[in-house]
């Protein structure tokens, strides 16, 4: 059998006769480039081993760097203008694929003209709304306070609590870790009595933390210095003794 295959291959190389071509394609795949391998002809024919099943390769989907949707769905998001600007920069071929005149015509599909107009109006509205929302969120963020509190535990022991970092999209756990390693002390994320998360660091490090935030050290970025508030919580005179050790 191996010899016959070899024969076919040789023949195919010489003249692509239709009969041998059919025979070759019916038998095992011939090597590309067709270097005759003498060993292959000598070795006894083996049972053809089914190749181990290969995993199916995944489809590579191009996602939008702005709205995270597959590019074709940007038009349904709330940031189409920004999405388009981004794609134009990132990949002008893909931009043409999705936003050329023909592409825009083709995608309307079975939708009636008025439905399409309405969709576009909706998109514009959605976009304006999202922008206003982002704007408001930004304003709120810029107005929100970070409270750093020095709390007296016993006569000479303090803890420092930091509240409000999450408003500046700072990962509290990462920030706590950063404080812990910076001050070689304990730091954890806990809920205050109001149910809000805050970071509690062992020891009085309030001034250092203010400096760190002002300097934008590590994860503590993007907080205006004016938004930092330093307060002190004295131990209540009456409640002494109880919270000893």
């Amino acid at each position: 059998m191996a010899r016959k295959k070899q024969h076919n291959k040789d023949k195919e190389e010489a003249t692509p006769a239709s009969t041998s071509a059919a025979a070759a394609s019916a038998s095992a795949p011939t090597e590309e480039g067709g270097e005759a391998q003498p060993t292959a002809a000598v070795v006894a024919p083996e049972e053809p081993q089914p190749p181990p099943p290969e995993p199916h390769p995944p489809v590579e989907v191009a996602y939008c760097g702005v709205c995270t949707f597959p590019l074709e769905y940007c038009e349904f998001g709330s940031s189409l203008t920004r999405c388009k600007d981004w794609l134009k920069e990132a990949d002008s071929d893909l931009f043409d694929k999705y936003y050329s005149e023909e592409a825009l015509q083709a995608k309307i599909g079975t939708l009636s003209l008025e439905a399409q107009t309405k969709l576009e109006k909706d998109t514009a509205k959605k976009e304006a709304k999202a922008e206003a929302k982002a704007d408001a969120a930004h304003k709120k963020k810029m107005a929100s306070q970070i409270t750093i509190k020095r709390i007296e535990r016993t006569k000479r022991k303090f803890v420092t609590s930091i509240h409000g970092l999450e408003a500046f999209s700072i990962d509290l756990k990462k920030a706590a870790k950063q404080f812990a390693s910076r001050f070689a002390t304990g730091a954890s994320v806990t809920k205050n009595p109001q149910g809000q998360d805050e970071i509690v660091v062992q020891g009085d490090v309030s001034d250092e933390i203010v400096e760190m935030i002002e300097g934008g050290v590590g994860v503590l970025k993007g907080i205006p210095a004016d938004n930092i508030e330093l307060v002190e919580e004295k131990k209540k005179a009456g409640g002494a003794g109880a919270g000893g050790s």
Binding site: P52, P53, E54, P55, H56, P58, V59, V61, C67, T68, F69, P70, E72, Y73, F76, G77, A106, K107, I108, G109, T110, L111, A115, L119, D122
Partner: protein, 184 residues
């Protein structure tokens, strides 16, 4: 399912799944999805531990290396996440909604029969009809990639016949709060 899902408050905890349970999940995934074992091996290698992320209202998300690969409600069908479906679009049977229905889906609405039976829609042919309760990839007219994942509320032939009311319930869709979670 993931319309108002806040990871920080809606996740109760994460636990590695016991080997015996992993085996049964793998078996049900292999029977419920049209996926080859060797491809599933790429998504979820046997030597990797599956993490069960327990969420509110009996929703479970399964992650490998922090990446959500599947989710489940109660002991219902196991759905792939939309990102996994995008990579392997053939693992779920396909239905398609017309262009007009896309924005409703993206607002989390269930899919009405007419959106599936209209000219821009698609349902499997009668000889490949799906029963009620089948997980499906929801595609959209003129789009290459799935826009969501749902479960048939009626059989696909029934959707054609009745042609009103909800045909496919939406489980997850582009831009919902599960989509927003890239790693847990």
């Amino acid at each position: 399912m993931f319309k108002k899902f806040v990871p920080s408050t809606d996740i109760a905890g994460q636990t590695p799944v016991k080997t015996s349970v992993q085996r049964s999940i793998r078996a049900s995934v292999l029977s419920q999805w049209k996926i080859e074992p060797e491809t599933l091996e790429v998504i979820w290698p046997k030597k990797e531990t599956l993490i069960h992320v327990k969420c509110r209202e009996h929703i479970s998300i399964y992650t490998v290396h922090g990446e959500p690969i599947a989710f489940q409600h109660f002991d219902g069908p196991v759905y792939p996440t939309l990102r996994i479906l995008h990579k392997y679009p053939y693992i779920l049977p396909k239905v398609q909604i017309d262009r007009g229905a896309i924005r409703f889906l993206l607002a989390g609405a269930p899919m009405m029969c007419p959106g599936l039976t209209s000219r821009g829609g698609y349902l499997p042919p009668p000889d490949a009809a799906l029963p009620a309760g089948a997980p499906v990839a929801i595609h959209a007219e003129g789009k290459e990639h799935a826009v969501g994942i749902g479960i048939t509320k009626l059989g696909t032939e029934e959707i054609r016949k009745v042609n009103k009311g909800v045909g496919v319930e939406t489980a997850t869709y582009l831009g919902d709060d599960l989509w927003a979670v890239k790693a847990l």
